[in-house]
Amino acid sequence: MMKQENLTLLSEFLHKRENIEPARVTPEASLEELKIDSLLLLELLFEFEDKLGVTMPHDITPPKTVGDLLAIVDGLRVGKDA
């Protein structure tokens, strides 16, 4: 079950940064179609790490959809300093 707050965090970030309509940020949406390139993905991961106090492992499979990305984030244990 996807955590709604992580989807909200993602859509808020994309709205602020790229002016992407939150309605377009659905689990099925492809990152490529949202024009999330490798640099923006790095920033997204950083944002999640910062806001949630988690650490992304180095060996993650590059996500293709919003759902892929959120599955990675949802699966991480929240750190002590969150």
């Binding site: 940064r17 640099l39 920033e43 991961l45 950083f46």
Partner: protein, 416 residues
């Protein structure tokens, strides 16, 4: 031997502290108007800072570049890309990426690159106790980032290079493309430079060298007084400038407005001392630019001096000018516009080159501001003071002499 192609200046753009366009900026230069203000900075992390400086306070990156792009740029790239887009528009060039532009390129200058990014990263690591920095730190901070952004935005497929030659960076970036266009290797080049040096650490470093002019709220505007008997040093500034340099026939073919001809380039090294300038090295650079441009010293009617207002530097430049122009020195008009726009380090060469080109195009050259009494060791040339010089200006030089002993001189010829 086939004759080399001539090089036309067909577009000018800048981001300047007055916040207006090129015509507004140049008008203020002609009137001797200073952009220097007291720059203050105070936060919990650092000791209070108050020093005369030049800031582009009204610059709005989002308005100039859109929502997303500024996030991927240090301020020096934001200023630089904005100046380049402005020069592009000024040259009447279309913003389409469809046409192949593999013989169009960019040549940029910056002395410090993304120094604000570095400082913020160090603050996070060393002061705030974090163990990581934002993921774009590398691509924000790198010194060729501005050039890269410009070539991406404008679809330029020829070389994209960046020169770091301290205070001559953008003058070198301009000069080095002359042979590329003459030879036909490139048809059109976007050239210039940008600098955003007002980080806490950079200002403190310049203070430590004891070359910064002091001042308060009231006196800051007059803080930089090149060639004056009471000069007291330089003023740091941020800004950016860009020119479109183009194969002359190409420019004529597309009906472009030609501001001036970029005629000659001189580049020498003092091979002498890290910071003390050298008369002979500067003379060689001026002579080289004049000769390279097919000019004679008699045709040079205006020199935009390096003129930083340091005790040591100004008299050496005047001695070098007198050495090159001999008995005619009295007739050679000279001004140091840093008295108004400050020293923009890697961007200052192009800002002064733009002023030089505008002087030839309008047949009016700006004064050195605040020059009430020429110092005895700076006499012997025709200092422009009080207001603009109007008259027949056939050709002009723009001098840039960098710490490290790199001397760069650009020679421009009036287009008509």
């Amino acid at each position: 031997m086939a004759s080399a192609r001539r090089v036309a200046v067909t577009g000018l753009g800048l981001v300047n502290p007055f916040g207006g366009d090129l015509a507004d900026f140049f008008g203020r230069m002609l009137r001797g108007e200073s952009a220097i203000r007291l720059f203050t900075r105070e936060d919990k992390a650092t000791r209070p800072l108050a020093v005369p400086a030049v800031r582009c306070a009204s610059f709005d990156a989002e308005a100039a570049l859109g929502r997303s792009l500024p996030f991927t740029m240090d301020r020096y790239s934001q200023l630089g890309t904005t100046a380049a887009l402005s020069a592009w528009l000024d040259a009447g060039l279309p913003r389409t990426k469809d046409a192949p532009r593999n013989d169009w390129g960019v040549s940029w200058g910056t002395a410090l690159g993304g120094t604000l990014t570095f400082e913020s990263g160090y603050m996070d690591l060393l002061r705030n106790g974090r163990e990581r920095v934002p993921p774009l730190s590398v691509v924000l901070g790198m010194s060729n980032a501005a050039a890269s952004h410009i070539s991406i935005q404008l679809g330029l497929g020829a070389s994209s290079t960046t020169y770091t030659v301290a205070c001559a960076s953008s003058a070198v970036a301009i000069g080095e493309v002359l042979s590329k266009i003459r030879s036909g290797e490139a048809t059109l080049m976007v050239v210039g430079g940008s600098e955003a040096p007002l980080s806490y650490g950079v200002v403190r470093a310049w203070e430590a060298m004891r070359v910064l002019a002091g001042g308060d709220e009231t006196s800051a505007a007059r803080a930089c007084r090149p060639f004056s008997s009471d000069r007291q040093g330089l003023v740091l500034g941020e800004g950016a400038g860009a020119m479109i340099l183009e194969d002359w026939d190409h420019a004529v073919g597309r009906g472009a407005r030609i501001y001036a001809e970029f005629a000659g380039y001189g580049s020498t090294s003092d091979h002498d001392h890290l910071v003390r300038p050298n008369v002979e090295g500067q003379m060689r650079a001026m002579r080289m630019a004049i000769q390279d441009g097919g000019l004679t010293p008699d045709e040079i009617d205006y020199i935009n001096a390096h003129g930083t207002a340091t005790r040591e530097g100004d008299p050496i430049e005047i001695a070098a000018i007198r050495g090159v122009f001999g008995p005619r020195s009295d007739a050679v008009a000279v001004s140091a516009t840093k008295s108004m726009h400050g020293h923009m380090l890697g961007a200052t060469g192009v800002i002064e080159a733009i002023i030089t080109v505008m002087s030839l195009a309008s047949q009016e050259a700006p004064p050195t501001a605040h020059l009430d009494e020429v110092d005895r060791d700076c006499t012997g040339v025709r200092h422009i003071t009080g207001g603009p010089l109007r008259g027949s200006l056939r050709a002009a030089l723009s001098n840039s002499f960098a710490f490290g002993g790199s001397n760069t001189v650009l020679a421009f010829r009036a287009a008509h």
